[in-house]
Symmetry: C2
Subunit: 159 residues, 2 copies
Amino acid sequence: ARPRVGYFYSGKKPGHDVTDTMNNMKVKDFQSIPVVVRENVSVYDAISQMFLDDVGTLFVVDKNSMLTGVLSRKDLLRTSLGSQDLTAIPVHIIMTRMPNITYCSKADSLIQVANRLINQQIDALPVVEELANGLKVVGRITKTNITRAFLSLSESHEL
Amino acid sequence: ARPRVGYFYSGKKPGHDVTDTMNNMKVKDFQSIPVVVRENVSVYDAISQMFLDDVGTLFVVDKNSMLTGVLSRKDLLRTSLGSQDLTAIPVHIIMTRMPNITYCSKADSLIQVANRLINQQIDALPVVEELANGLKVVGRITKTNITRAFLSLSESHEL
């Protein structure tokens, strides 16, 4: 029997549309490995680390590996404009520090995270686990991960 | 009449699914304004320009405003690691130059562009018009634009 006008067979359960698919995309399915540095490394060494691991954002941790700061390419570039010796400035001087850091957890939806990246104009969020003694950094989520998620929504993607 | 089992009213034309929606997303609908510098400006001034306009990538143009190079935060940060005087190095020394620049046009699909950003590991593509005397820069497309497109696919987005 042919479907009547206005109805057609979609092969999907009712309500299973792109919004549902997107709501089911979680940080843990798209996150990358975090790259961390300690608070006392120099700006010079942090920039070197950024190139070594080819990332745009470094997370700064204390001696217990808990999150204390975030360093973006922009932060490091701003510092390099000054005439200071980059080997003499520790990153804790220039980093964005808690509580001004936006972070997320593995269970958050990618839509929430994408909204935070856009609205707060940031490049990367640390993915953390909240422990008694602080925030343990377990991942990194960036606009690159969101771009991969965008492509995964398309049947014609070529990744 | 209630739809029979296996059929339901979707409110959409047959075949109008997320892949169609994504294929119809064009660069011109999501692009940003390009920020350009001339080939002889110093690396120092280029970094300053990047902060002034709050962009992560600058496009370099010749005296006819045709594209000759691209400068990323990464390129500028690498140069700042050297002990050179940033005010004494013109950007044409360090820029990525034609024909090694990946670009796109207004009519390209966002999926194509997203694939290029991921596969070639780049932050931004210049949007160009191909003229007789070169490539005129008319826009900029980045992972931020793709992230906005991702959010626009979700009914629950809060942009």
